[in-house]
């Protein structure tokens, strides 16, 4: 943990600043809008009920849904994050401004009016200063919520401390999660404390708050402009957090190709959308993804053969195969049964919401078995077989398909536990026995679980069969685990660009991309 902090202190600092800025600017905007709205609403009871209701409903929207909702309009990055955070912070500030003013003793208001104050004087000299402590309580609530919700903004490429948290979750690395979570908590606590200090004297001295706000809002752009080198290339890459951080992902790739490119972190399902909408220019996608065709994307040739083949296959413990003796024979029959075109087609249909995952799995089942069930015995008394999946379309479909296939061809019943946020997370659950079976990829198993030397990898890369055999031998030795024969399609990771842009820049392979970028370095 300490080691990790030492190594990453620079990045933690950057992310904390980014986080502070995201929260700061959205809170600042919420203060301006929320206080004005709250003051305005005190003039109309009916409107007040309506607006406070609406902002209340807004706050019940799950944060992730809110972030996702803005992508079609605002794209990814800081802007939609700030808009979502702004809306979240709005309710407590509007509500507290309104109630703070409503709750002022009527006699004080009457005295002020009877002394001859105008409406504006009443507001600025009496009502607003008296409501300030309550308004401030609202700002404090908003700030604490905001710093928390801002961690989610990492999922749409807005940065902040959430990046560490989500990387930590995908890689099942506690120290990485804590590297994001602890600074985020400290940030929330210290902001709350700072505001509580201001709140005590708020009627007499408002300037510390305004000055603090100004610093928070302005410091990040200054910091960023000082610490960031200019992006002369004009290309931006978007990677999911797993690719960004795995040794066989971006780190290895940029080393292998000597490729330097600014990259933002993106939620895996948002990646293609972001590429299509020109939010980013390069992504690391999966070759079986249906959106490659429908979004007109170009898969860059991996001319240095950096990416190993990723054949999909069920992974299972040897002990499980013993416990469920019919399983192995049944699953072996799936070898080579799923062509790449079929799975790409189903991935696309599901991504376009034309098929549900269940429908896709049914189609796959009937395509594989040709409608004839090999076996359909009555259920055995065995424990249900729990099948897992990762959090992307193909993995969902394959898991649902495996469940149907096993129930159709053996006497075992199954349960599904879908959507694990990262390979490491799922593999750990699998090793602990919570998951008995899930679809995995040979390349992943080799590089993430077996982790052989680079020379070994290089000797294997050209032959899918060699990888499968080598990986299985190592898996058996190290974990008592086996990858059954592959479904037959290779879903390797690949760099992708928009066809149009790739054409324009004359980029066909990853080396072309590197050469294009290097032109700017001279």
């Amino acid at each position: 943990m300490i080691e990790f902090l030492k190594e990453n202190i620079g990045e933690i600092g950057d992310q904390a600043m980014e986080h502070l800025w995201l929260s700061g600017i959205s809170i600042f905007l919420s203060c301006v809008a929320g206080i004005s709205l709250g003051l305005g609403l005190t003039r109309s009871q009916k409107l007040a009920g309506f607006f406070i209701g609406v902002t209340g409903v807004m706050q019940t929207i799950p944060s992730l849904a809110m972030l996702g909702f803005f992508i079609p309009f605002l794209g990814i990055g800081k802007l939609p994050a700030i808009v979502a955070l702004f809306l979240y912070a709005l309710l407590p500030i509007v509500r507290n401004t309104y109630t703070g003013i409503q709750n002022i003793d009527a006699n004080i208001r009457e005295a002020a009016v009877a002394m001859g104050m105008t409406r504006y004087q009443l507001l600025m000299k009496v009502e607003f200063p008296l409501a300030l402590p309550v308004i401030f309580a609202g700002i404090r609530t908003a700030t604490v919520i905001n710093v928390g919700v801002a961690t989610l903004c990492a999922l749409i490429g807005a940065g902040g401390l959430g990046e560490f948290i989500f990387r930590g979750i995908t890689l099942n690395s506690t120290s990485m999660i804590l590297a994001g979570a602890i600074p985020a908590s400290l940030l929330a606590i210290s902001l709350d404390y700072a505001l509580s200090l201001v709140q005590k004297n708020v009627r007499k001295r408002l300037w510390p708050f305004i000055a603090g706000m100004a610093i928070v809002v302005s410091i990040y752009p200054v910091w960023a402009s000082l610490s960031q080198t200019n992006n002369k290339v004009g290309l931006v890459a978007g990677f999911n957090s797993e690719f960004m951080n795995r040794a066989d992902g971006w780190l290895g790739l940029s080393e292998a190709y000597d490729l330097q490119l600014p990259a933002v972190e993106l939620e895996i399902t948002l990646m293609y959308e972001a590429l299509k909408n020109q939010e980013v220019d390069v992504i690391a996608g999966f070759t079986t993804d249906g959106r490659i065709q429908s979004y007109n994307l170009r898969v860059l040739e991996d001319d240095l053969h950096y990416f190993p083949p990723y054949y999909a296959a069920p992974i299972v413990k040897l002990a499980t195969l013993k416990e469920y003796p019919l399983l192995e024979a049944s699953l072996e029959k799936l070898e080579g049964k799923i062509p790449k075109e079929l799975i790409a087609y189903l991935n696309l249909k599901v991504d376009q919401h034309e098929f549900t995952i269940e429908q896709a799995a049914d189609s796959l089942l009937s395509a594989v078995t040709k409608g004839v069930f090999v076996n359909n015995r009555s259920a055995s008394g065995k424990e249900r077989l729990v099948i897992g999946s990762k959090a992307f379309t193909e993995s969902y479909i394959l898991a649902a398909f495996l469940s149907r296939y096993i129930e159709a061809t053996t006497s075992y019943r199954t349960d599904l536990k879908l959507g694990f946020g990262g390979t490491k997370l799922l593999f750990d659950a699998f090793l602990s026995g919570d998951i008995k079976l899930y679809p995995e990829y040979t390349g992943t198993a080799l590089l993430v679980f077996v982790q052989p030397d680079k020379t070994v990898i290089d000797s294997l890369l050209q032959s899918p069969e060699k990888i499968h055999t080598f990986t299985n031998r190592e898996l058996k030795e190290d974990f008592g685990v086996v990858m059954l024969p592959s479904f037959g399609f290779n879903n390797t990771t690949a760099m992708m660009m928009r066809e149009e842009l790739a054409n324009q820049l004359g980029i066909v392979s990853i080396s072309d991309l590197k050469n294009y970028i290097n032109r700017f370095d001279q």
Binding site: D105, I108, A111, A112, A114, M115, G116, M117, R203
Partner: protein
């Protein structure tokens, strides 16, 4: 001078103030006496336009207040309420200086006015920098009064001003209100439901019920001549003690039999004083004497018993008038 002409105010189409006309001469105190819900507070608030009448006109020094800017009007009328309504985020000095600040007085004029008012209200100068919550209820109400007076208004409106104070403090402030020179020039309209307060403070008392003036008279006339059942209900068991507290020694002197200075002297009394509450409380002292003086010296001696007798004669004569 304040003049109300045929004032009517409707709430939900029912009159809460019903065709009221009143005249308060300059420098006089008029008390509006009534039960809660009688319309007395509504009537008061129409004078500084916190409430606008539905019918009728209100004139201050001959000018219709409906024609004046409402803020300018209010800045020239002092206003004191039972709840005081001091601004909790302002110091005592800032509170007192509310109206001067609104009018835009220069700083030194304002601060000398604040010290003057603190002194008049019997509060030490160090109170200027305190906050309202640091003061007692009585002190707060004195600040409330000072705030109402700060802009030198010619008219002062008070709504149950002393109702929330404990009896001793209330007597003190009522007495200040009667005797401080600062109030002398001012026209004052006071709302209360407390008959003792009404008779103590008022040059005249207007008895209000269901939005109408039932009777308007001096306290003396109410006590000794009124036939209204309503006022009798208000006065109730206090009639006798109220009467005792109203009459000055000079008024009964024509009915008094003087005596030689021959017995023990229990009291020295000026003719302007109103000593009858005390005199009637001296149960076993009829054979003792009171020495009566006026500004020029000794008037004479009288037995306590004879003083009691003179008061009774005075009372029966007033009732007969």
């Amino acid at each position: 001078m304040v003049e109300l002409v045929n004032i009517t105010k409707l709430y939900h189409k029912k009159p809460v103030v019903n065709d009221v006309s009143l005249l308060v001469p300059k420098g006089q105190t008029l008390v509006l006496l009534g039960k809660s819900g009688s319309g007395k507070t509504t009537l008061l608030k129409m004078i500084n336009r916190l409430i606008e009448p539905d019918e009728g006109n209100i004139l201050i020094d001959g000018e219709n207040i409906a024609n004046r800017s409402v803020e300018e009007l209010r800045r020239n009328i002092g206003y004191v309420i039972q709840a005081i309504g001091l601004f909790p985020h302002w110091t005592v000095a800032q509170n007192i200086a509310t109206v001067p600040a609104l009018i835009g007085w220069p700083k030194n004029k304002t601060s000398s006015r604040v010290s003057e008012l603190l002194e008049q209200m019997g509060l030490p100068p160090r109170f200027a920098s305190r906050y309202p919550h640091e003061l007692s209820g009585g002190q707060q109400q004195r600040i409330g009064v000072a705030r109402a007076l700060a802009g030198n208004p010619s008219l002062l409106l008070m709504d149950e001003p002393f109702g929330a104070l404990d009896p001793i403090i209330r007597k003190e402030i009522q007495s200040d209100f009667q005797h401080l020179s600062i109030f002398k020039e001012m026209t004052k309209i006071v709302v209360t439901h407390d008959v003792k307060e009404a008779f103590y403070l008022g040059d005249e008392v207007a008895l209000i019920d269901e939005g109408k003036i039932i009777e308007k008279a001096t306290p003396r006339n109410f006590l000794f001549n009124s036939t209204s059942n309503l006022i009798k209900g208000f006065i109730g068991e206090d009639a006798w003690s109220l009467k005792l507290s109203q009459v000055a020694l000079s008024e009964v002197i024509s009915f008094l039999a003087f005596a030689k200075d021959s017995a023990e002297e229990v009291l020295i009394c000026h003719t302007d004083e109103k000593p009858f509450s005390r005199i009637f409380s001296m149960v076993n002292s009829d054979q003792q004497q009171v020495k009566i003086i006026d500004d020029s010296g000794l008037v004479g001696h009288a037995f306590v018993g004879d003083l009691k007798a003179s008061f009774l004669k005075f009372e029966s004569q007033l009732a007969a008038d």
